[in-house]
């Protein structure tokens, strides 16, 4: 074998570059956590090279199958469990790991390795029909679509899931590889311009049992608030359940801070690890974790998705904490559109007599302007300096040219999914729809539209444009950076 080629199968203890192309984002994240000494359930991976060779051959061939089974034996040694049998059965998850995350589009199988013999042994181990029932439900729910799709979507006689653990594993790996090319994944890649040739890696990881007892559970932790960007961790936690129970909605999670009440040591450990991961990554993290009988495991970490306002606060906090340099902060802040972060608000609540109409709030924002009811298309009207508020019974395509120039839209008829609403949202201008008869509102008069409240007022009401202090600071930092680069 050519040693310059990337590996086909690797496990967590093998030295490997944390290469997102080869391992996918999820895989690279697991290797990264393992390298930092974070407790992750033992795992191995099939790299995107394995996917490429599977894709060319149309099936898993030797020596890949043997390599996989060797890794299963390694997992058995690491966990002290046995695959497909007792006395302590090893169950695994099989997850896709693409370079770009495509949530919900690719297959995942959980609790794989559940054979009749393993079932009996699990019952012996946990002494709980409830736990065994949960494990079976999750396995069948996640495996059935994968194995059913391997019959080309044609009806097949039950059961479709192989009985032997090895057959389950090989079938699941082929199913996850194949899901790279399912209709939804292809469609998603097309509209997001993700190359088809990337392929997907696969993570095969020992399952940990968040449903083992009252000191077990699963959850997610965001190292910062994804809405405000404040430094308080946020997240959810459900006791005595596997993570799938949260995702599927079978169980309602509690705030993650409840873990601190029942298992304070575990919660402290989780926070310490979370802070370490954030510091090492230089950005806030979105972490999935499981606790099995009081022992914490991290299953995944990735960069936290957050609002632009939260983005400002997070970058500045990371700068203040010394986690990132000033240049890095400027670079990250440069991608934020500060104009979107200014909040337009009425200075004071308008008097009741100014309210002309109430409708549905189709697009937020406040704007004032001169009413144009029957605009025609004369340049003398559309190129007026003062802003226009287009007021129509309902919009027609002929209004499009004026709508593009309008400060706000108001319609008598139509709902939140009307053409006017769609266009206003595209234009990011305030829009109120379904106001009813507006005959009393004449062209040429000045009005104010509050798109978030769904209200139309007579006259030009005073508004104030407030910019949060955190946004001011971020904006001036970027401006300083721009000055430096031009001098």
């Amino acid at each position: 074998m050519d040693s310059d080629l990337p590996p086909i199968v690797v496990n967590e203890v093998q030295a490997v570059d944390q290469d997102r192309v080869l391992l996918g984002g999820k895989g690279a994240g697991l290797f990264w956590m393992a390298s930092l000494g974070v407790p992750v359930p033992p795992f191995f991976m099939l790299t995107t090279r394995a996917w490429r060779e599977w894709d060319e051959a149309g099936q898993l061939l030797e020596p890949h199958t043997s390599m996989i089974m060797e890794m299963i034996r390694w997992l058995e040694q690491r966990t002290g469990r046995t695959f497909g049998r007792g006395p302590r059965p090893l169950l695994v998850s099989v997850r896709s790991a693409g370079m770009v995350s495509m949530p919900g589009m690719m297959d995942t199988i959980l609790n794989l390795g559940l054979t009749p013999e393993a079932l009996g042994a699990l019952h012996e181990e946990f002494r709980s029909l409830q736990i065994v029932g949960d494990v079976i439900t999750t396995f069948v729910d996640t495996a059935t679509p994968v194995f059913a799709s391997q019959h080309g979507g044609k009806p097949v006689p039950r059961p479709v899931i192989p009985v032997a653990a090895q057959d389950q594993l090989v079938g699941a790996i082929e199913g996850v590889f194949a899901s790279w090319n399912n209709h939804r994944a292809r469609l998603y890649r097309r509209i997001n311009r993700i190359p088809d040739e990337h392929g997907t890696a696969i993570v095969v990881q020992a399952m940990v049992f968040g449903n083992a007892d009252a000191e077990s559970g699963a959850g997610v932790l965001f190292t910062r608030d994804p809405v405000t960007g404040s430094g308080d961790p946020r997240g959810e936690w459900v006791a005595a359940a596997q993570g799938e129970a949260i995702v599927s909605g079978r169980m309602t999670p509690a705030p993650v801070h409840e873990l601190a009440c029942c298992q304070p040591d575990v919660f402290d450990q989780l926070l310490r690890i979370a802070r370490c991961l954030e510091r090492e990554a230089g950005e806030p993290q979105d972490i999935e974790f499981t606790v099995e009988r009081g022992k914490l495991f991290l299953l995944q970490t990735r960069a936290l998705k957050h609002t632009p306002l939260a983005g400002c606060r997070i970058v500045l906090a990371l700068l203040d904490e010394g986690s990132i340099t000033r240049d890095e902060a400027i670079q990250r802040l440069s991608s934020i559109d500060f104009a979107d972060l200014a909040i337009e608000a009425l200075v004071q609540p308008p008097a009741d007599e100014l309210l002309l109409a109430t409708g549905l709030p189709a697009s937020p924002g406040i704007a004032h302007g001169v009413v144009a009811r029957d605009v025609g298309s004369a340049p003398s009207v559309t190129s007026e300096r003062h802003p226009l508020v287009l007021l129509r019974p309902e919009t027609s395509p002929h209004d499009l040219p004026v709508m593009r120039r309008a400060a706000a839209l108001v319609t008598e008829r139509g709902g939140l999914t009307s053409h006017a609403a769609i266009i206003a949202r595209e234009l990011r201008i305030p829009c109120v729809v379904g106001c009813g008869d507006l005959d009393s509102v004449r062209s040429g008069g000045e009005v104010t539209v509050d798109g978030a409240a769904g209200r139309l007022y007579a006259g030009r009401l005073a508004t104030e444009r407030s910019v949060p202090e955190i946004v001011r600071r971020a904006r001036s930092l970027v401006a300083e950076g721009e000055e430096v680069s031009t001098t």
């Binding site: 589009m105 469609l187 509209i191 025609g376 004369a378 395509p397 499009l400 040219p401 999914t417 595209e426």
Partner: protein, 201 residues
């Protein structure tokens, strides 16, 4: 400014097309109108006549459609529907109106998914949109000979669909003239005028 006089016959379909184009653009300058001559068969003389008839209004170097022009456009669109087309067209319009409601909900969901960065909702909206598009073309296929009235809009919808699927996602719900939503909105309007129906949001 005065338009250079050329000899050109008053061609009703070409005038209809001109009025539609000017209407959709709102205001059009003379140079752009001139660029269209090759496509429409319209010449300077026709434009001068349309201005004289107050179908088009001239404001400096710009042209726009008057209210009378708007009525003329409706009349032209109605006139191009022959008795043999009426039934098939009405059936298509009924289907279209049902699809229109679905499309507006779908595009609204698409916009929210884009703003929230939610891939699952995004792809769900795209799948629904493609299904609506498929049903639209199926319905168009049942129109028979009447399809000639709207074939070009269906082609343009297909072009915007291809562009969206190639990653130009502003071609789906964007406000540019060639976006799927703008073309759909236009097709709806033309369909209603051709049948003499009123728009119901």
């Amino acid at each position: 400014m005065t338009f250079k006089v050329q000899s050109d016959p008053v061609d009703r379909p070409a005038v209809t097309e001109l009025l539609l184009k000017v209407t959709m653009r709102g205001v059009i300058d003379y140079d752009t109108t001139r660029e269209w001559f090759g496509d429409t068969g319209i010449g300077d003389r026709t434009i001068s006549e349309l201005v004289a008839e107050e179908v088009l209004a001239q404001d400096g170097e710009f042209l726009y459609v008057t209210e009378a022009g708007d009525r003329r456009l409706t009349k032209h669109l109605r006139a191009q529907v022959g008795p043999e087309d009426e039934e098939a067209l009405a059936e298509f319009a009924d289907t279209f109106i049902g699809l229109d409601a679905e499309l507006k909900v779908t595009l609204t969901d698409w916009q929210h998914s884009q703003r929230e960065g939610d891939p699952e909702s995004q792809i769900a909206a795209v799948e629904r949109w493609l299904d609506i598009d498929r049903r639209l073309h199926e319905a168009a296929g049942r129109m028979g000979a009447a399809k000639h009235l709207f074939g070009r809009y269906l082609d343009r919808l297909q072009a915007s669909r291809h562009a969206t699927l190639a990653g130009e996602t502003d071609q789906l719900s964007g406000v540019n003239e060639s976006s799927y939503h703008s073309l759909w909105f236009l097709l709806h309007e033309i369909l209603l005028r051709s049948l003499g129906r009123e728009r119901q949001e």
